[in-house]
């Protein structure tokens, strides 16, 4: 009987090509759909229908009126907190923040000015929304050195805006 030389027999190699094809396709899929998602957060506002048109009668503190004016392109042209003009310089929101800090003081918790005070936003119709968010940021708190959010005034309401034109 003739015995075959087993050394010469071909090794059954694993075919890698289809797997590599699929793996690369998966890789391309995940790379193409990869999107860095920016963290988002909310400013919570409780605003029933009556609060938009009329002030709440039982408020102990009069609301702080923040008037924001805009040009036709939507740029902020002026800002005024009650009767105080905050100007239109780069640090206007910083000034607003300092004003709010002065009004609110260091006291926090139930019954404090921070909890009772309310800010009314009077904005021009055309004003870019980003300025409103900047103003709400300046009014509603700041980040402390230990990276905590320190809240200031949380009650915010919109007054009907002045029509465009």
């Amino acid at each position: 009987m003739k015995v075959r030389n087993q050394r010469d027999a071909e090794k059954p190699g694993l075919v890698m090509t289809p797997m590599i094809d699929i793996v690369f396709q998966l890789l391309i899929f995940f790379i193409m759909t990869f999107k860095i998602v920016v963290q988002e957060g909310d400013f919570n506002i409780k605003m029933p229908a009556a609060a938009m048109s009329e002030g709440l009668p039982d408020d102990t503190l009069p609301p702080l009126r923040l008037r924001m004016t805009a040009d036709q392109a939507g740029n902020l042209t002026g800002m005024r907190l009650n009767d105080k003009n905050l100007g239109n310089s780069e640090n206007r929101f910083h000034k607003l923040h300092n004003e709010i800090l002065n009004i609110v003081g260091d006291e926090r918790g139930p019954g404090s000015v921070a909890e009772e005070a309310e800010v009314e936003l009077h904005c021009d119709y055309d004003l870019n929304y980003s300025y409103v968010i900047q103003a709400i940021t300046a009014v509603s708190g700041y980040i402390s050195e230990d990276d905590r959010v320190i809240k200031l005034i949380e009650k915010i309401k919109f007054k009907p805006s002045r029509e465009q034109g």
């Binding site: 793996v23 995940f30 990869f34 919570n44 605003m47 004003l127 409103v132 968010i133 009907p160």
Partner: protein, 147 residues
């Protein structure tokens, strides 16, 4: 003289390290892939705020309204003028009530473009109020703290 035949067969490189790396890359992208961003839309670029931190918990009854720069609302995949939102908001209010919740406890998440007109945002809020919504969340994207 005897000439040696060259060995038949193709020289194959070792594929193992490459496959290792490729699988690691796939695992990386699979873990980071985000399927929960259904409410995000390319047409809306949110304003940024340093106080915009992700909420601690999920909202119980959320309703997301996206306002574009041109003042239309992206709602259920279509762009609707703010003036025509009553119909949609009424329907949403009915759905919320049919689910056993009250409209007042629903939170309207306003995702408005940073260059949208504030007046349009207010009009949208007014429409929601007319349909008995009371709680609003103005959404902003997180900004790196400056200074």
């Amino acid at each position: 003289m005897r000439i040696q035949r060259p060995k038949a067969g193709v020289e194959e490189g070792d594929m193992t390290p490459m496959i290792d790396i490729v699988f690691q890359l796939i695992a990386f992208f699979m873990v980071l892939v985000n399927f929960t961003d259904a409410e995000q839309d390319e047409r809306v670029k949110l304003p940024s705020s340093e106080l915009a931190r992700p909420p601690d918990g999920l909202m119980e009854v959320p309703l997301t309204l996206q306002l574009t720069k041109s003042g239309t609302v992206i709602f259920a995949g279509e762009e609707v003028p703010v003036e025509a939102m009553d119909h949609y908001l009424l329907r949403e209010a009915q759905i919320i009530e049919a689910q056993g919740n009250t409209v007042a406890e629903a939170t309207v998440i306003v995702r408005a473009h940073e260059e949208a007109q504030t007046g349009k945002v207010q009009e949208l809020i007014k429409k929601c109020q007319d349909n008995r919504f009371e709680k609003f969340a103005l959404r902003a994207k997180q900004e790196e703290e400056s200074g």
